[in-house]
């Protein structure tokens, strides 16, 4: 829709339009500022930060903070940098996303094309599970991970993220497949294709967009998770977010702001990259998460 057709725009007047543009630019500045500060200060020597202006461009450019954040900074007790934790996160995210997406796609397929009595209730229960405050499962989850002897490991975190990611993955695929013509499934049935053949040969080839949306959503959410990481995998198995928080809030020694900023950008980089490369799908994922049903 556009109320502001060309004629209309003219009637709002030049002053009005200037005001609109100014406001939008101001907000753009507001959204960009924190990131700008992080980037600028991550390439300054520490002395320029503590003694100088946070907004100013560096007088002396350095990548030392980045190197330090990546491989030598003190995280907890070890001077390992964020590197091992970055790989922890990768080892956690990739299997969790893959498993969740596959299960979600199959669930969505069953819930739309092989409907049975009570399927709406099952879906409702799965849907609600997306929105619970995770505090409610922390205690029993800690017990179960202990019993399974995967407490404090990346494997444990994968399990946790799979369990709480299934709901959203199912939601995405169900909504997508609901719009997929059921006649195609019927035609394939008459052609003699079975349950899995119909899925692989008919639905899956058309599932590209929703798979991208689902993968991006899961990737962003799991990568950015802090609560589960902090609760179940502190120490060597901690994911990136937990390590970053340890780095930033460690109270020993001098606060190396430039290293903190570099670390923060490192932690943000994968999801930011995904956003830049596939922003369209990212937005669609967000919207699908808010307009359910």
């Amino acid at each position: 829709m556009s109320v502001a057709t060309q004629d209309n725009a003219a009637s709002v007047g030049r002053v009005g339009r200037t005001f609109v543009y100014l406001t939008l630019l101001l907000f753009a500045l507001f959204y960009l500022l924190p990131f700008f500060i992080m980037v600028v200060n991550s390439v300054k020597p520490l002395s320029e930060i503590t003694g100088g202006n946070m907004m100013a461009l560096p007088q002396e450019w350095t990548i030392a903070p980045w190197l330090s954040a990546w491989s030598t900074a003190q995280i907890g007790v070890e001077p390992t940098g964020l590197r091992p934790y970055f790989w922890n996160s990768i080892r956690m995210v990739v299997p969790a996303v893959v498993i969740c997406t596959i299960i979600g796609a199959l669930n969505g397929y069953v819930l739309t094309k092989w409907r049975f009595r009570g399927d709406t209730i099952i879906f409702g229960l799965m849907l609600f599970s997306c929105f619970i405050p995770f505090q409610i499962v922390l205690i029993p989850m800690a017990r179960i991970l202990g019993i399974l002897e995967i407490a404090g490991t990346t494997t444990g975190l994968v399990l946790v993220h799979v369990v709480y990611g299934i709901g959203f993955a199912t939601l995405y695929f169900r909504n997508y497949y609901a719009a997929f013509p059921t006649e195609l499934v019927r035609a394939a049935q008459i052609d003699g294709a079975g349950f899995f053949q119909i899925f692989y040969r008919i639905l899956l080839p058309s599932s590209g967009p929703i798979t991208v949306v689902c993968v991006i959503w899961l990737f962003t959410n799991i990568w950015n998770d802090f609560l589960f990481g902090a609760s179940f995998a502190s120490g060597d198995a901690a994911p990136m977010t937990v390590a970053l928080n340890n780095l930033v809030s460690s109270s020993t020694g001098v606060k190396e702001y430039n290293v903190h900023f570099a670390g923060a950008i490192l932690a943000a980089l994968p999801t930011l990259l995904v956003y830049i490369v596939a922003g369209r799908f990212f937005v669609r994922g967000l919207m699908a998460g808010s307009v359910k049903g």
Partner: protein, 370 residues
């Protein structure tokens, strides 16, 4: 025992019976059309024949083999869907041969079958395209190719023409009819379009409200509808059905109907049995083409009756001119010759062919049989 037998079949969802005891025996090579308004149960019945929906009670058998519980792919049937249901990710050739592939037909045979069907339907040049690159008519052909290639016992069509524009629909209709005449396959065809039903079928089942209202040849359905529903559903414009009273004049039963002016007109019945209804109310059914200008009346009819009535609206359609008048308190349509001299608002002597008139019991709405 027919080729395709539908025997005492009902369908319920929960406690609601949506299809009530259907019995149809289809002979080999027949073209059966299931016609009715949306929600009448025709698609449900088709899906039950296909095996896409379960049968609540009764039996469906094809070639004497009971099909209840048999998987759709094992019934040796093929179906053409309303949306064509072409697999969007496969080429035309893959679409057509997918069923053969699923049934484990070896590749050389599949290629040969594909070639035969493609040349039969003249789609050879489209085989490498994806469905998205085809026009509506081409998709329709591919969908039929997919059905034909299986060489099935029964073809099922689910409103296959309803997504085409008017012109193409007529062309494809002819094409389907030609195909049936050449291949002599058994067809069950669902549509809500009564013209399709009339033109294509060897027999029609008119359905409404989960009941088969009438099963018969197109001529039977058109000329002797079982009830008011069938009478008004089939034919365009619909059959005129007006309240009337039977009166004996000189020993001949007449239908007494109110004219536009309020006074009554008397129309002599062609059938004698109407005298049993003397003094009673009936519903009189007359098709528009049975009310004409005197010059256009059917010369073979033995019972042309004159009806003087005031002309309401005239609608020239090119081939004919339709005239609307008030009769029995209802709008009644007459089909006149295109070059009729009739004028709006004048009194005009219409010729009514009472041989084609039918009468219904106003209580049951069933046709009063001769």
């Amino acid at each position: 025992m027919g080729f395709l037998d539908i025997n005492h079949v009902t369908k319920s969802y929960g406690n609601v019976e949506v299809l009530h005891r259907v019995d149809i025996a289809v002979e080999e090579g027949e073209f059966l059309v299931l016609v009715g308004p949306s929600g009448c149960g025709k698609s449900t019945l088709l899906n039950m024949i296909a095996g896409l929906e379960g049968i609540t009670s009764g039996e469906i058998s094809i070639k004497d083999r009971v099909m209840n519980g048999v998987h759709p792919s094992k019934r040796n049937i093929a179906m053409v869907f309303q949306s064509y249901a072409l697999y969007p990710n496969m080429s035309v050739a893959q679409n057509i041969t997918f069923g053969l592939e699923m049934h484990g037909t070896p590749k050389p045979e599949r290629e040969k079958a594909l070639k035969d069907v493609a040349s039969l339907l003249q789609i050879d040049h489209l085989l490498d395209r994806k469905p998205g690159q085809l026009s509506g008519g081409q998709r329709q052909r591919v969908a039929m190719g997919r059905a034909l290639v299986r060489n099935p016992d029964v073809f099922l069509f689910d409103e296959p023409l309803s997504n085409l524009d008017a012109k193409l629909r007529v062309d494809m209709r002819t094409e389907i009819k030609k195909l049936h005449q050449n291949l002599k396959t058994t067809v069950v065809y669902v549509t809500h379009d009564q013209i399709e039903a009339m033109t294509l079928s060897t027999r029609i089942a008119v359905m409404f409200d989960g009941y088969v209202q009438q099963l018969g040849t197109p001529k039977e359905i058109y000329d002797t509808p079982e009830n008011v529903f069938v009478a008004t559903f089939m034919g365009s414009p619909a059959m005129n059905v007006v309240p009337a009273k039977v009166e004996m004049v000189d020993g001949v039963p007449h239908a007494k109907v109110a004219r536009a002016e309020g006074d009554d007109a008397l129309l002599a019945f062609a059938q004698d049995n109407m005298s049993e209804w003397a003094g009673k109310d009936i519903l009189l059914g007359i098709r528009p083409e049975a009310i004409t200008d005197p010059e256009g009346a059917d010369r073979d009819s033995n019972c042309i009756v004159t009806l003087a009535n005031r002309v309401g609206v005239t609608e020239p359609s090119g081939a004919d001119t339709f005239v609307t008048m008030t009769l029995g308190g209802k709008d009644v349509i007459a089909r006149m010759r295109a070059d009729t001299t009739v004028q709006v608002d004048e009194m005009f002597d219409f010729a009514v062919n009472m041989e084609k008139a039918v009468a219904f019991d106003p209580q049951t709405e069933a046709r009063i049989k001769a």
